[in-house]
Symmetry: C2
Subunit: 131 residues, 2 copies
């Protein structure tokens, strides 16, 4: 397997098959994917993908995760209508995390908040915030 990322100079290109084979999935075949609102850079959520959900997302332009709790594909917004349209997919220096720049329709979080990170933590503890 080629070294995907660390030592490749700028402009290096790989096929999708090569790329997907070189990503570093966990023992369950999953890789974490951070979803970020493209226009505002707000971090919306973090979920998981497998190789097939990455292919589906790239082929359709609609973000599709793998649900660990339900053990099935999770086409984001399929039931809620709160879809994520992919603007750009990126992976990191060691190929074990994805960053998805998206256009999110409606709230990203199932609590109907705009994003999932509404719990602030500090040395004294946690406060649930409204946003």
């Amino acid at each position: 397997m080629f070294k995907l990322l660390e030592e490749a100079p700028d402009g290096t290109q790989r096929t999708l098959d090569e790329t997907l084979a070189a990503l570093r999935y966990n023992a369950d075949g999953l890789i974490p994917a951070i979803a970020q609102q493209a226009a505002t850079k707000e971090v919306l959520m973090m979920a998981w993908m497998n190789e097939a959900s990455i292919r589906e997302t790239l082929a359709t332009g609609q973000v599709c995760y793998w649900s660990r709790s339900r053990q099935t594909y999770w086409r984001k917004g399929e039931s809620s209508g709160h879809v994520q349209k992919l603007v750009e997919m990126r992976t990191d220096c060691d190929g074990d995390t994805l960053l998805l720049l998206v256009n999110q329709t409606g709230p990203a979080c199932h609590t109907n908040r705009n994003n999932c990170f509404y719990n602030a933590m500090d040395a004294s503890g946690l406060t649930v915030s409204s946003t």
Copy 2:
């Protein structure tokens, strides 16, 4: 264990001990932490923390991860000087991911790029970009 997050109304508070006990670590006792530049909202990197590294980060204000490859604490920037000063720590609706708003000194990535997500992916494959 209390339900940390999903059903707690805005303004709910928990102690740090309660919060750390309720976070959903993986089988290795780790939780993914997304680092985001506070001022620009640029997503810098994703790494892992355990309970002790969360405590250390909150107590010192300097971000400390757990290195899976080296199996040791990783005080970001300890050797490179490229430290991350914590501005705010957040956790998500189901308590299995952290978001760190930081002030990053120097490049976040060990390749000396500003962030780790410099590999663009699309349906045709991957391109290594300069940023």
